[in-house]
Amino acid sequence: MKPEVWRGMGLADDEYARITARLGREPNYLEVGIFSVMWSEHCSYKTSKPVLRKFPTAGPRVLQGPGENAGILDIGDGLALAFKMESHNHPSAIEPYQGAATGVGGILRDIFTMGARPVAVLDALRFGPLTEEKNKLLLRGVTQGIGGYGNSIGIPTVGGDVYFDPAFSGNPLVNVMAAGILRREDIARGAARGAGNPVMIVGARTGRDGIHGATFASVELTAESESRRSAVQVGDPFMEKLLLEACLELIQAGVLIGIQDMGAAGLTCSAAEMAGRGGSGVEINVDLVPRRETGMTPYEVMLSESQERMLVVPRAGREAQVEEVLTRWGLEAATIGRVTEDGLLRVTEQGRTVAAIPVAALTDEAPVYRRQAAEPAYIAELRAVDLRGRQLRQPAAATLLALLANPTIASKAWIYRQYDHQVGTNTAVPPGGDAAVVRVRGGRRGVALTTDCNSRLTYMDPFYGGAWAVAEAAQNIACVGALPLGVTDCLNFGNPENPEIFWQFEQACAGVAAACAAFGTPVTGGNVSFYNETPERAIYPTPMIGMVGLLENICSLCPAAFPLAGEKVFLLGPAEGLLAGSEYMSQFEGLVGGVLPPLDLPALKKRLDFVLAAQEKRLLTAAHDIAEGGFAVALTEMAVRTGATVDLPADDILAALFGEGPGRYILTAAPEAERELTALAAAWEQPLACVGVTGGETLTVALRGAPVLAAERKRCRAAYENALGNLMH
């Protein structure tokens, strides 16, 4: 075989040599194709595995950790929560609508494959600045793709986050998270067991779309990427809605031994992974695979990434029942092979064996690389940036209005108005809050969900950024009154073969691991997306965190907006924030840099526990953490409907109004609750200061009695709510 063949499929020469040695012969074309997708970074995690092993993954609530289609946590009363996040960056970069739509479809399949009924979708998006037409097109396409799929299938899109930065021009990030609810006894798994049991393909027919999507996701984006549009799949939410109902019916009827969705690398990956988990072999006759096109080769059938398909292994003799359920839902089911004892993935066509590969060679024995890591020179340069002595360049009110209109900070209503965020009638906190809250039917519980990552801070200090992403997610969960339970991650980085990128990856993951350990939130699964690069640049490293939390009583959920005038406003945490890496410094000084002091994770955890203690005593009427844009922006977000007057115990205007940094919250309480809240803070040794009252037509801030900011509430609201829509029209 010519080297161009395996190189064209993304295999390195030494990997090809390894395959030949393992098989004891030259592989044929189909076998090279199968190895190439299974050993792609996307499927094999060959670069990330050694690093990911450091994540804490155990905990008393963990029913399913990493390695399955989704993680599962116990939420009490026999109920469990399945959740997972995945990237669809590369497809979305060249075909935003379908790229994002199939991202939603794929993650939803991961959830219902586990036997859970999906109840929520969240989207964490990163784009280049909206001053560039191309980025507007991407935002519009991605938004419509997410809505087009989620709205139709009828799963609410309840939250997410969006940032805009030049680092993402040409390589947007589309990370999709989904969560579902199931009864503990209904947990389904993706293992093929029991020699002789049938292997069936259910759902859509197989076409030529998406061939080598996994390989495509494992290289950088270049000028030629556009020509790889055929590697992007096309979604059919109607088909998936039917598939969802049919699969849940099969799982609940106890017909299945194993079930696995077909995502990246299609039939190849699902068959190999199911066999790998079951310690068995699988034989597939490609002649039996229902197709939507004629003349497909075994190579095309095995590597197709046609959407809305599942591989199921029913108990022998139950094939008719599978067919009956699928037919009732207007779908097809076909027996395409069987579970075997020989440990091989065997593919046959017209009675001939066209591929025979040991399953272990494709899964457990995939290469693992220990990449070189080197601290990039820019890290020290950014740390050396001197931020001292900066003054406000314009009045504080004008600065605030400009920050509120910054698309990263502004209301994302233009986006989430295009998503059905209510279907299911369980969405108690819709998009726009700190965390979304979804009611769990059949009790009083609610589930809180959020996605977070500040990519700029991660660029400046990857360890800090990884840890802060977890800490901020936990703060958001606590703000709505929920206990943080667990994490799914989506790790977006550049080319890991570059030692500086790999250093970013190692550092960020170490930060995530440290914070997950500190907050008691195990990682139950996730996804790694490397090669997020264009010829101009690598993206800012973005270890996206999806966190879930639990409210024992959904009626005790805490809003982010001030509900009433006349309530007391409290600042929890330091009155002056960090300017290093802040939105202010980026927007007004064009500066990315400065020193990020090490995060004191135990102290942040203790502060969070205090917030939760106050929530449990129902002392808080609103809670919001201070993030991008600092105190002034957080206050405005809470007060656009009620106004507020505050006086901060601070001296530095910039750091007090627009500084960021961890462990800072704005809370409100009824006047009669002030004494109890203050006493609780003292008992927890927390820096809590009553700094003002809600109400009025303005947002007024003073520092030790000296007025520094007065902004009309209505003007702030208009700036905040209209900015994104104005940019997009």
């Binding site: 709205n151 139709s152 009828g154 109607f238 809605k241 209510q422 279907v423 299911g424």
Partner: protein, 229 residues
């Protein structure tokens, strides 16, 4: 009161409707789209969603569903039919209600709370509201831009068949209160006999304080009290 909710493939608000009826103290049941009879039901609900994927034109395929001839028979005989969102689209497609629902004027799907004015509080679906009452009920659609020709509009207006109109918070049926470009801000219409209602907003999403408020309860209460009388 026997309530049936038609479940088309691609419907996605049928369970929400069922739950809303439960919240309102009434039991409803599902009618699979392949049933050919709806006899025995007092009310047939056509729920929201994307029936058959709605890839052609919203509601265009569902009107040919096996259950629809008997829903039409039920309506002609005076039985209650309530179409919500996709259900409204299906009702215009099958001719039980006049007019058509076009792409939203802004060409974007919209999911948001929306103020409505109850234009006719003397129907079987709205008698629990006060005439002219302003209510907040969520909308959730990409094709909700109501259109009808001039003669048809005149007829609707003269016969009091515009049941709900999109308005601002202050109750003004102006452009500012119109989310999707609907002609005359129309968000819900009834047939001449008054037993068929189609509306784009989702009252089933507004029956609980925790989720979307309680302004949608009036429709449910109207239907339920009607039977008691």
């Amino acid at each position: 009161m026997k309530i049936g909710i038609v479940r088309f493939p691609g419907s996605n608000c049928e369970t929400d409707c069922l739950e809303a009826w439960r919240v309102m103290g009434a039991a409803a049941e599902m009618i699979w789209h392949q049933e050919t009879s709806v006899r025995g039901y007092d009310l047939v609900v056509l729920p929201g969603g994307f029936s058959y994927g709605d890839y052609l034109r919203a509601g265009a395929i569902a009107r040919f569903s096996p259950v629809m001839p008997d829903v039409i028979r039920h309506a002609r005989e005076g039985g209650l039919v309530w179409g919500i969102c996709n259900g409204f689209q299906i009702l215009t497609e099958c001719g039980l209600l006049p007019g058509a629902l076009l792409r939203n004027s802004g060409l974007c799907f919209i999911c948001a709370p929306q103020y409505l004015r109850v234009e006719n509080a003397a129907t079987a679906f709205t008698r629990a509201y006060a005439p002219g009452q302003i209510i907040s009920v969520p909308i959730n659609h990409g094709e909700g831009n109501y259109y009808i020709d001039a003669a048809g509009l005149r007829e609707l207006e003269e016969e009091g068949r515009v049941v709900f109109r999109y308005v601002t918070e202050d109750g003004a049926a102006t452009g500012a209160g119109n989310p999707n470009g609907s002609l005359a801000n129309i968000s819900g219409v009834r047939n001449r006999a008054g037993n068929v209602l189609g509306m784009m907003p989702h009252p089933e999403r507004a029956v609980e304080q925790l989720i979307g408020g309680e302004d949608g309860r009036g429709v449910f209460r109207s239907i339920l009290t009607g039977k008691e009388e």
